[in-house]
């Protein structure tokens, strides 16, 4: 048991680091959102550079534009890339979820058409699964596709779509047969996000930011050749996509949270004196530290499994639920330290440039996005511990007959 690289790992790391130092742009670009327009060109250029050097989709076969490498190599490259300033990555959803789905369930023409351009960063994908009436219940998709001639006409709405506003293509889950049980009546398509009948509207979040979109479909026409997988197989195809999602949402930098509190507590005082000397805060810091470190070493365990060529255990499933709760708890505790001053969110005036006020407003989203605390506990209980599903009233009836309260 040690933290050092094997000779093989060390060699790869050195090579990756050297390449990054030679090629990585020196300035990081702001997040791609509705608020600050995307700087997609820098991202595309960086992605292409990586792809040409075999550092994009490292584990994918070379013929698809990947690096033909091992999982541990992609982990090491990721660690090294994180150390240098690189543009934001608008390709994660496409390369992490959508394109692998096309590779697994799409037809050969589509694979030839889409995989390489995506790896090269020429085309960006978004995932169109969630719906207003669905939420945690993704299989409740109501967006309707009806056959018309040799194609389909689609009407409906999707929600919580990241990157829809700058995506070229989307992977769309629709209902093709409401007369069969919910999981059997869906079909998957890829769509051109710029096609007529597709309208993207930003979602205004409580934090003020807009990182997600609503996407409306009005008589959107798609060819049957845009179908990914068979008619009625949409749910099985969607599961391929979803398997990756929850991992990809993941952590979110609590690792540094307790250090921030440390910094804050160093120059703030409580009734009892300097906050850092306050026993209550000290115990909380210890508890936060232990959780954050626990998550860190849990990912090390996962990475070890990868570098040993094994399949990681289920332990990574705890990451988001712990991270989100910690973020909210630490932010609230920090504001309590700032006392009356804590209400000030102006980065010019608030301690640590308002970092805690920001995370207080972001935390509720993290507790919900990519699976709520409650859904994630269900998943741990069912998939990790093997406890039974809750009673399901929506499985053996026609989709149109499932109670919706409306």
């Amino acid at each position: 048991m040690d933290f050092n690289d094997t000779p093989e790992e060390a060699a790869y790391r050195a090579q990756a680091r050297a390449w990054l130092e030679a090629n990585a742009p020196k300035t990081r670009v702001g997040e791609v959102s509705h608020d600050d327009a995307p700087n997609l060109e820098a991202s595309r250029a960086w992605q292409r550079k990586k792809a040409e050097a075999g550092y994009a989709c490292i584990t994918w076969p070379k013929e698809w534009g990947g690096g033909g490498g091992k999982a541990w190599q992609s982990v090491i490259f990721g660690q090294e890339e994180a150390k240098v300033a690189t543009p934001v990555n608008p390709f994660a959803i496409g390369l992490g979820m959508c394109v692998p789905t096309v590779m697994a369930a799409g037809n050969d023409a589509d694979k030839q058409r889409f995989v390489k351009p995506a790896v090269l960063g020429e085309e960006i994908w978004c995932q169109l699964f969630s719906e207003p009436a669905g939420g945690s219940d993704v299989a409740a998709a109501r967006t309707r596709a009806i056959r018309e001639g040799d194609g389909w006409v689609i009407n409906g709405q999707k929600v919580w779509t990241s990157g829809a506003h700058y995506s070229d293509f989307g992977l769309l889950l629709v209902r093709t047969d409401p007369d069969v049980p919910k999981h059997k009546g869906m079909t998957m398509f890829w769509i051109d996000m710029k096609a007529p009948g597709v309208e993207v509207r930003p979602i205004h979040q409580m934090s003020g930011a807009s990182n997600f979109n609503e996407v409306y479909f009005t008589d959107l026409k798609v060819k049957d050749s845009q179908r990914v997988g068979d008619v009625g197989e949409g749910w099985r195809v969607a599961l391929v996509t979803l398997m990756n999602e929850r991992l990809s949402v993941g952590g979110g930098g609590t690792g540094s949270g307790h250090r921030r509190v440390f910094k804050l507590a160093g120059d703030i005082s409580t009734l009892a004196g300097m906050a850092l000397k306050d026993g209550a805060l000290r115990e909380k810091i210890a508890e936060w530290y232990v959780q954050a470190e626990g998550l860190k070493y849990t990912t090390y365990r996962t990475m070890t499994a990868l570098s040993r060529g094994q399949t990681p255990g289920p332990e990574s499933s705890i990451s988001k639920i712990v991270t989100a709760g910690l973020m909210q708890e630490m932010a609230n505790a920090a504001l309590e330290l700032e006392d009356q001053f804590g209400i000030i969110s102006d980065p010019e005036l608030a301690p640590l440039a308002g970092a805690f006020q920001m995370s207080l407003m972001a935390a509720p989203g993290l507790r919900i996005a990519g699976g709520t605390d409650e859904i994630l506990r269900n998943i741990i209980a069912e998939r990790v511990l093997g406890l039974p599903q809750d009673v399901r009233l929506d499985k053996d009836v026609a989709f149109k007959d499932i109670p919706t309260g409306r």
Partner: protein, 371 residues
């Protein structure tokens, strides 16, 4: 044993709810939130003044209704429930209470009628930096009746006419009344977590200051004002928490997942049961605080601290878990959850955070055990 509000007080509460549902719907709160220029609802403020609520606890001799603090408590619960975007707490719980506590007859005669009529908006300016207020940290000074220094944050400081300011003229601090329309006052509106309750930085450069209460007693008086305000704020918190529970319940009944209302899942049922438990504990502590406030009991410091600690916990928990119950919708700007999430922080910080009140509470208990 008569540990509840009277029928008259309950009637007043019912009337207050009806009034606020009509005059202060969430749309009105959002109007203040969405308009950077607006920091309170002027029409509502006027209407509330006409109701006489501002003077509910002010003696008739000074233009008030001469009712008691208990009447103020039931009104406070409804204001909290409605997220009323008005400087009620600053003017009534802080300024009016400070003047009734420490003011001279002349000061009472001059200001209380204006407060009762809604002609004067007040604010309470004590803090100057992050962290808990202690006398040693106060830099604001008064020399020859002129005050200099800066106070930040001052809730409603951007719209107030009259401020109670904590500042030193000797070694120790005193309370001072400062008219903000006068010369030597600079106000800067602050960006805060709850734009429906404005706050400002007040910078004084030789503004006229009139002493309020005993010289050198500033900290002691400020604490007494805070004790009174803490009880009344606790009722606003109980009102807010109760409304969060209602919203979560309504949503859990109409929102379906996997063919069932989410309110039929234990994860949601038990979450809401926990909100109910914390809210009832906060209500009972608030009632005790109301008794101590109304009866002027020696237990007020303990009762106020307990009411504040329970109130902060209940509203914060209710606000964040009600939002969680709403799922993705709860995280959108359009759904009202974040208005309560913001207000829970505003009420939780405005009179000092629960953390500091826990320390106060335990010190009081120690003193009592020693006695």
């Amino acid at each position: 044993m008569d540990f509840d509000f009277s029928d008259d007080q309950k009637f007043l509460k019912g009337e207050a709810r009806k009034f606020l549902e009509a005059r202060s719907p969430v749309s009105a709160v959002r109007a203040v939130l969405d308009d950077p220029a607006a920091s309170y609802d002027k029409a509502l403020w006027k209407a509330v003044a006409e109701q006489g609520w501002l003077g509910a606890a002010i003696p008739e001799a000074h233009g008030g209704l001469g009712l008691g603090r208990l009447e103020l408590c039931v009104i406070a619960e409804e204001l909290g429930r409605a997220l009323a975007p008005i400087p009620f707490a600053s003017s009534v719980y802080f300024l009016a209470e400070a003047i009734m506590l420490a003011g001279s007859e002349a000061q009472k005669a001059k200001w209380l009628p204006k407060l009762a009529a809604g002609e004067v908006i007040g604010c309470f300016a004590t803090v100057e930096r992050p962290g808990v207020l202690t006398e040693s940290q106060i830099a604001a000074r008064v020399e020859g009746g002129k005050i200099s220094g800066a106070k930040i944050p001052v809730t409603d400081g951007d719209i107030a006419d009259l401020a109670v300011v904590l500042a030193k003229d000797g070694q120790r601090s005193s309370l001072w009344l400062v008219e903000l329309a006068g010369a030597g006052v600079k106000r800067e509106t602050l960006q805060t977590l709850d734009p429906t309750r404005g706050a400002a930085r007040l910078t004084f450069t030789g503004a006229a200051a009139e002493r309020l209460g005993e010289a050198g007693e500033g900290m002691a008086l400020a604490e007494q004002v805070l004790n009174r305000a803490a009880v009344l704020l606790a009722f606003e918190q109980v009102g807010g928490a109760g409304r969060c529970l209602e919203m979560a319940k309504e949503y859990a009944l109409q929102r379906y997942a996997f063919g069932r209302p989410i309110g039929s899942y234990q994860a949601i049922k038990h979450k809401l049961a926990d909100i109910y438990i914390k809210t009832e504990l906060a209500r009972s502590n608030a009632y005790y605080g109301a008794w101590a406030l109304e009866s002027g009991a020696a237990e007020l410091p303990t009762a106020a601290a307990a009411a504040r600690v329970a109130g902060c916990e209940a509203f914060w928990f209710a606000a964040k878990e009600s939002l969680q119950t709403h799922g993705g919708m709860g995280y959108t700007w359009e759904v009202d959850c974040h208005l309560f999430y913001r207000r829970a922080q505003q009420l939780g910080l405005v009179a000092g955070a629960a953390k500091a009140w826990k320390e106060r509470l335990v010190s009081e208990l120690e003193r009592r055990n020693a006695a």
